[in-house]
């Protein structure tokens, strides 16, 4: 096919559940490509000699190569090509912000719409898993060295996967009763089915990775105690305590942090209450504070729990929202109402200590701040009350405190994140490496995976010299 012809093929949409229907169930929103559609979409790729897309990918997935294999109909081959650099393609294909990474750089996107790299990634990974075609990679002979990984989020899992292939013995310690970190407790089922995360963990186990659940490092063994039993330790403990707005009324009943709201719904399956024991407040009118992916997930979860109104209260305008466009689009399509240029100043309660409303002040955009986004300033006297019975605060998290508090000599940043070398994950303690949200603060799945990968290389080198 000529480049000209290729450019005539439109970017293939991915079929998905009707917004009205899906807003009331927890099933995954998109259905994924059929093999035919995937091959058609793959044929749009120009197979660039110097592919720009790869530069946009934090782990440099071999994009034209895997897309080429899909175009040829070798779907399993495509999945294996992906896995050479990305341990969790089924996850990344679903949750990576491709529009600011690989797809933002794709040359096809210069004139028209970029190749749907994310959708193709997801297709190949799903195809391999659904056809039981997952095979074990080549494993290096055992080195006899042992590594402890703290936390089973994307950073920890990626680091574990790379180290086991290099022949080291790997044990992952996870505080919760399920592995996966944010992938299981934060990101909702309708965006990332938990069975996929479980399949990835099972795969790592099949390679020999040991996973110790219900093991809170710092409270059981400390990092120092792990160092006595293992040759190196990787810390990937992720985000911790939620940040609140520090406005009156935040401890009223019916006010949640996004972490709690989502953990109840996802990890504890409160949406299946009373079949599952964990309850959740099923508000009729829910206000979510914040404008990121987490806020989108919370507001869409509220709809699925039966909310008649699910508002997102954000102090800037839609253009400044940090959430992915696709997520904002999905949320609005489902009926989430955006209350923009509004800042909550007080949560109002009733006599029984329950939320009855949120007092907000209107904002207008002033001069750009350090982040380049225009700073919102309150409009005097513009206060108004939004009547709601549930509030979810989704404005961010601090680092998880348990490991930093129990590891003497581990250098931290001003905000309590662990200081680690960007290229190696090396911390101030010998033999201790770190990566993911605990180092960077809330970031992305792929950034955490990238950090886990780099740390695995550094740990491997460290163990060889040791």
């Amino acid at each position: 096919m000529s480049a000209d012809k290729k450019q005539k093929i439109p970017r293939q949409p991915m079929p998905e559940q009707e917004p009205k229907v899906r807003a009331r169930n927890f099933d995954e929103v998109p259905f994924g490509y059929s093999p035919e559609t995937a091959m058609l979409e793959a044929s749009r790729c120009l197979q660039c000699k110097k592919p720009k897309c790869v530069e946009g990918c934090p782990v440099n997935v071999k994009i034209p190569e895997f897309i080429g294999l899909i175009a040829e109909g070798d779907f399993v081959g495509a999945a294996r090509k992906l896995k050479e650099t990305n341990a969790l393609p089924a996850v990344c294909g679903r949750v990576c912000p491709q529009e600011t990474q690989c797809e933002a750089k794709c040359v096809v996107g210069k004139k028209g719409e970029p190749v749907a790299i994310g959708r193709l990634e997801r297709f190949a990974a799903d195809y391999e898993r659904d056809h039981d075609a997952v095979t074990k990679p080549a494993m290096a002979p055992s080195t006899g060295k042992k590594v402890a990984i703290v936390g089973s989020g994307p950073a920890g899992l990626t680091c574990a996967g790379d180290l086991i292939k290099l022949g080291h013995e790997v044990t992952v310690f996870e505080a919760l009763h399920k592995p996966g970190g944010v992938l299981v407790y934060g990101i909702p089922e309708f965006r990332l089915p938990k069975a996929i995360v479980q399949a990835e963990v099972d795969y790592l186990k099949s390679l020999g990775v040991k996973v110790e659940l219900d093991f809170v490092v710092g409270m059981l063994d400390t990092v120092d105690e792990l160092l006595a039993k293992y040759d190196a330790v990787f810390i990937g403990t992720g985000a911790g305590l939620p940040v609140f707005m520090n406005i009156p009324g935040e401890n009223l009943n019916g006010v949640y942090s996004a972490n709690e709201y989502l953990t109840r719904s996802n990890l504890m399956k409160a949406y299946l209450f009373p079949e599952y024991d964990t309850p959740i407040v099923k508000g009729k009118k829910v206000a979510v504070f914040g404008g990121g992916n987490v806020a989108m997930d919370a507001s869409r979860t509220a709809l699925r729990l039966g909310a008649e109104h699910s508002y997102i209260v954000y102090r800037r305008s839609e253009a400044e929202m940090p959430a992915r466009n696709e997520e904002i689009h999905h949320a609005v399509e489902e009926g989430v109402e955006l209350v923009l240029l509004a800042n909550p100043v007080r949560i109002v309660g009733n006599d029984e200590g329950w939320v009855s409303g949120v007092e907000c002040v209107r904002m207008e955009l002033g001069e750009p701040d350090e982040s380049g986004r225009r700073r919102p300033v309150p409009v005097e006297g513009s206060e108004f009350i939004l009547e709601v019975d549930t509030v979810v605060v989704a404005i961010g998290n601090g680092p998880n405190p348990l490991v930093p508090n129990t590891t003497p000599g581990l250098e931290l940043t001003r905000w309590g994140n662990i200081k680690a070398d960007e290229e190696t994950g090396q911390t101030s303690r010998e033999g201790v490496f770190a990566g993911g949200d605990i180092v960077t603060g809330a970031a992305t799945v792929i950034m955490a995976m990238g950090a886990g990968k780099k740390a695995a290389v550094a740990i491997h080198e460290y163990l060889q010299d040791k």
Binding site: N251, E260, M268, N400
Partner: protein, 294 residues
């Protein structure tokens, strides 16, 4: 893992049980004042329970709990030999141990269990320990012998006068603090029990200016400092009980907010309990009325 090796019914109404769980790693690390989180089965919720005792040699952790809802009811039905799916800990900060001189421990209801663990450690640190233990009625008292063996003085109260002194633990607390006013030997009060009791233990000691620790039990989810469910207001600041606590200065705690926050899910808890009872009644587990009542 997490096998129940001993179980005892302390009282029937309300139902209070003691269980010893095989959890050697936790037993090795646990110290007075800490707690565990458990989940009974795949559908279960994560519930926090204070550690009542540990047996290092045998690797056992003791919990004492009262049946207050579905999860504790289901836990109470597990028998020796059965396993608890998830048993996580130790969590929270241990009670700060020191030689304080004389410590007055006030234990109410099932709070007797965690206080016992703390008394033992206080004695190890050379403290004189006076213990007041109280319950609604005689049947609900337990471990008096254990407490007597550890403490220098023990006072027992029941609300209905069926045993020991007739009245509340705070009446004895008031007397002891008054008696001590001149000597000033009592340098610390530790109050553990129902939240309302802890509030009044703190209220009672406040005029005497004696530092008072209480152990808070808000609703929790992860209990590892991730979700913020356990937040309480202490001294006007939001604190997270699972990582900053569970013990706080009782004179600074906003108890009324805690009471309100403990009642977020009354309807759901009732529904859960009703469904559980129905399933129990039918015996076949499906909720029908066919089986025998147990």
């Amino acid at each position: 893992m997490n096998r129940i090796v001993a179980k005892e019914e302390f009282s029937r109404d309300p139902a209070v049980y003691m269980m010893q769980i095989e959890a050697p790693l936790i037993a090795k690390k646990a110290r007075g004042g800490q707690f565990i989180v458990l989940r009974i089965n795949e559908q279960g919720e994560r519930i926090p329970l204070t550690i009542a005792d540990t047996d290092l040699e045998k690797g056992l952790v003791t919990i004492v709990f009262q049946v207050v809802g579905k999860s504790t009811a289901a836990l109470g039905q597990l028998e020796v030999g059965e396993e608890i799916l998830d048993f996580i800990g130790p969590l929270g900060k241990p009670t700060h141990m020191d030689n304080y001189g004389t410590v007055l421990c006030v234990a109410g209801g099932i709070g007797i269990a965690p206080v016992h663990n703390i008394v033992r450690e206080l004695k190890k640190h050379g403290n004189k320990v006076i213990t007041i233990m109280g319950a609604r009625t005689k049947e609900l008292l337990f471990w008096e012998d254990k407490m007597r063996a550890l403490s220098d003085e023990v006072y027992v109260t029941t609300d209905d006068g069926s045993y020991g002194r007739h009245g509340l633990v705070t009446a004895v607390e008031q007397e002891l603090l008054e008696k001590d006013r001149d000597q000033g030997d009592i340098n610390l009060v530790i109050g553990i029990g129902p939240p309302i009791m802890m509030k009044f233990v703190a209220k009672t000691s406040e005029p005497f200016g004696v530092k008072t620790l209480v152990s808070l039990n808000p609703i929790m989810v992860d209990a590892t400092g991730m979700c913020g469910a356990c937040r309480v207001t202490v001294g006007g600041k939001t604190r997270f009980v699972c990582v900053d606590g569970p013990e706080f200065d009782g004179h600074q705690v906003d108890f009324d907010e805690l009471f309100t926050r403990q009642r977020i899910y009354p309807e759901q808890e009732k529904l859960s309990m009703e469904l559980f009872r129905q399933q129990q009644a039918c015996g076949c587990g499906c909720g029908c009325d066919q089986g025998e009542a147990s």
